[in-house]
Symmetry: C2
């Protein structure tokens, strides 16, 4: 069995909204210890495009493994502790964990691409809210229903639309009784109804 | 160093157009030895949505690593030899190779999501043609220019549109002098012009 001397992990704390990484040369591999990180690019019109969310235990910066430049921003959505890892110094179990996490990231991106390309906007927004209700962005209200802290701008970036259109669709989903909309947050009032709007089984 | 007895690799040959895998339970991890494989889902209207292309040396079926169901079809685009691997029986070097290949798949999907969400259709089609001109689908014509064997239906699936619209845009790109369109194939007449249409540096 190969044994390597590992450096103590370097972990840094980031506040909600703080940019962790900018596009550019990839130096490290990163692992989210606590919190939630959003990876996004910015299109030619300056609108954000969410590539994926990274939850605790998940990695980003994997382009370091293939010596390609990083094409995205990484942003701490909530307060987050993030480890910097030396990609050349992973032991066997870390390597397997990384592989599984990357496979899970691909699975999530497959679903996002399917939504992005194949479904009407209303279904994409419903699916995105379901996805977020199972993340660090979700709280519970006093009556136990999930509350997602997300702005219409964030939702627009996630589903490839603009804020004005998202606001209109959020209103429709609220009138349909699936959600309740508040300032910077959306309450999942009827998850079954929201799943029907998303046109998908919960995954 | 851990040594494992490896089974002889099981490789199977598939003809162009043959379905390698249907959605369902994931049994194996797959590696493309030669050829080109397209992973795609089908949306509610029956239209295909391309998730990614897998080139020689690349893997698919990675959902096997996380015991999730496979949500996509895998189709041999050209004649392809494909290995079935036992995901629990990879040695260290194979594991690292798999990790790098998954990281490269994510990098490619990041670019595809950026195109899908953030760019006009004409730029998405130009970018897709550039991507394909660097794959097994590309031939060289007698004067050395790359020729991509792709139908308008395939292009529509890749960029999240329909055939009729793709046909119109292909005509525009041809009139602009970037490509020449033929039956089931598109010639990259002026790669620099096509890159400008795609609004991106070649990656």
């Amino acid at each position: 069995m190969t044994r390597t001397i590992r450096r103590p992990d370097v972990a840094r704390a980031y506040g909600a909204g703080e940019i962790v990484l900018f596009p550019g040369k990839a130096d490290h591999l990163y692992r989210v210890r606590t919190g939630l990180v959003r990876l996004h690019t910015v299109d030619d019109d300056g609108a954000g495009v969410t590539l994926r969310y990274v939850k605790p235990g998940g990695y980003f910066g994997e382009e370091r493994l293939i010596d390609r430049p990083r094409r995205y921003f990484a942003e701490a959505v909530t307060n987050s502790d993030i480890e910097e890892l030396d990609a050349d110094d992973l032991d066997g179990e870390q390597q397997r964990d990384l592989t599984r996490r990357l496979a899970a990231a691909i699975d999530g991106m497959n679903r996002a691409m399917h939504r992005l390309a194949g479904k009407p906007l209303r279904a994409r927004i419903a699916a995105e809210l379901l996805e977020l209700s199972d993340s660090e962005l979700a709280l519970r209200s006093h009556d136990g229903t999930p509350v997602v802290r997300v702005t219409h701008d964030d939702l627009a970036a996630a589903v490839g639309s603009v804020r004005e259109t998202v606001t209109k669709v959020v209103g429709e989903l609220a009138r349909a009784g699936a959600i309740r909309a508040g300032y910077g947050k959306i309450t999942i009032q009827d998850a079954a109804k929201l799943r029907a709007e998303a046109g998908e089984e919960r995954v």
